[in-house]
Symmetry: C4
Subunit: 230 residues, 4 copies
């Protein structure tokens, strides 16, 4: 039981250091099975080379551990909050990838300067407000999810498949956790390009709407023509 | 049939991630057989580890698929436009390599600051103008080629074997697709050096004409003396 | 005898280049056995691929070589000074990792801008004052330790498990030398993030106290809930 | 005959891409046998994976090819010029390593900001003046050597084992070509640190003389105590 999400979560967690997104044990990935009302997530503070499909922790959507002897990632409540609120997604990824985290620490969204960005996000990569002392002192990781949801009022999470948590780091998501990993790779790459573009052209404006539409929509939605027919 | 260009295109496409020029599936390479009036190009949105010489798509110079069950790269019309216009070239490469793309997003050419650059380009690496809403709304990828051709009026494409498409990313080319890959590697490296040189010396002028002549011409043209006799 | 600290020091020294923290032979790690009053440390100027547990040098807390035919690292007196003063630590690591060293050369502490930093340090990563000509002319490496101790008056070395020596480079430590290696990796990553955050937001303030408390204390101390129960 | 310098030159040339100092075929290394009055150098424009001890080209100190069917590196006259003038050196390395080349292109020496630098150079890493149109038009590569020698009037080449050629890139040297490779690695690393230190502290002054003396002299000269006794 839960074999498929165990495998998906395991492979996604392993993919993060392979893509250079993880230093030490910062970062985690979860894969949901909405029919069964559960998700699989990385155990907390375990080295990447000790992970296996079997030691992924199975948690239900109320936050109870269904299967597993290890503590789940301390960020589990954030994953749960996002999986509950964003019904179209199948997985969440959290990293402290260097360049994206630099934007998060600075409290700055990543401006959309080009087509690489427009292939993934339908506008800037948003940043949350800072969390209040009350939010930090209470259920911190759950409130981290809430501050993301607050920022996403009026935004479609599949048009903006990621966010920077202020002072913290990026979270990404997608229809599958594999897609969330892909977005995490893209966010890191986009962050590096954006900083360099700003250094080259400090007054640089965001990409023109027609080019944003073209690139985002050729990959996403009903008129997409990128990739192979599904 | 088409064995040779299938192999060349396949090897060029594989070389791109090996040189660190590709994140995810951004990027593609094509190899032309002008006698047969066709070129081989990467299929769209296929992972690099699933590529083979056999799944390269064969397209003729009118844009019709001659062989192949997969959709060709969505950038195929840009490749075709360049191969038609630049008769001396045998292959085209497109990447979103990080540093070169940062210049493209910023709408800035890469200034020629030194001999590394002068070994490959006979002046700055040009950037196109932005595309118009009409160009974007019509045959976008074909018009991407046209905006490159507009920038190349009066320029010899073998003296300037690449370009930055504004808001987008670099395209490079050469007598062979292998040479186009080499130029793509050089462009990324040159972009990184150029940004750092500008940070060290904000008013830095372009390389002196005599040194540009010396380096470009010792590698290119009738009086070249670099490398082994051919 | 000393088998365990030989192995720990050997593994820590090998981990440094694997994590990209070492260029050439810059850097060394030591592991202490407080019961036996000795520590194992890398021999001086030996290539990383020639290291073995057997050629680690065993030095006692008075600085005398107990076992070993090779000279110990020239930085041995700094390690000894720290191991003597910081009674809760079991190992010391010294690297010239690029980004952290850039801060050290500039004489600047690494400001605490986010949760990645707060997971490891309970405030900024401190920098020492410059050493005086007299300190440099006398027992230089021992005085390097003393200038660190001067900076740590009033600081708990387990709350601040590392330092930048002005004009020089980072030293880190921990309950074990393996932990000191982990901190060295974190310091390099934090340094890169901090420089980028400052470039994005030149007036950026340090992380809010409540978020610092939350992140540092969820990993350290009596109320920690990160990782698996020990 | 010449077996030893063939092997040394071959190994040094292979070490350059392994250390990340070489993009494409930019770069070359030579090893001298002063008793026989010859040096071994990389053939021009040959891929790194086609090199062998046997295809190193043997050139005498008058510039005549003694053994070899391939053209030697086009930079051979620069190597010969340095080997003739700097009698204490046994090998020369030339790279276009990214960060050091950025300084060379900008026409800026690398300031000595810390002990990493001071371990290798007894002051800033010098940059030559620009070459004149006459020097470029005549025996360009030989004159590249001469402009280095002009910069080194009054400098001991073993105290300053490398240089940045203005608009071009670094050359390094040492008692052996293996040492010249080591210096080339250090120069690239030092360049990256220096740029970051300047970004952190724009008015940063060079390292204090007493610390420079301490670090340079603990590794070099009669009172050195770094590494193992020779």
């Amino acid at each position: 039981m839960y074999t498929e999400i165990r495998r998906e979560a395991y492979e996604a967690n392993l993919a993060l250091p392979r893509h250079g997104l993880i230093n030490l044990t910062f970062g985690n990935a979860s894969a949901a099975d909405r029919d069964k009302g559960v998700f699989a997530i990385k155990p907390s503070g375990v080295d990447y080379d000790e992970l296996s499909p079997e030691n992924m922790v199975i948690v239900d959507f109320d936050g109870k551990i269904v299967e597993g002897n290890l503590r789940p990632s301390s960020d589990t409540p954030t994953h749960r909050c996002l999986l509950l609120a964003f019904e179209g997604i199948g997985g969440v990824v959290h990293t402290h990838s260097t360049k994206a985290t630099a934007f998060a620490q600075a409290g700055k969204p990543i401006p959309n300067f080009g087509t690489t960005h427009a292939d993934y996000f339908y506008g800037e990569i948003p940043v949350t407000r800072k969390m209040t002392p009350e939010e930090i002192a209470s259920a911190y990781e759950w409130e981290t999810g809430n501050v993301i949801l607050e920022r996403f009022k009026g935004l479609n999470p599949l048009d903006f498949p990621g966010v920077l948590v202020n002072r913290h780091a990026p979270f990404t998501w997608g229809k599958s956790v594999a897609k969330a990993v892909e977005v995490a790779v893209a966010v890191e790459c986009i962050a590096e390009m954006a900083l360099m573009s700003m250094q080259l052209n400090p007054g640089l404006q965001a990409i023109e709407q027609e080019l944003l539409d073209k690139h985002f929509l050729r990959k996403h939605g009903a008129t997409a023509y990128y990739g192979q027919p599904e």
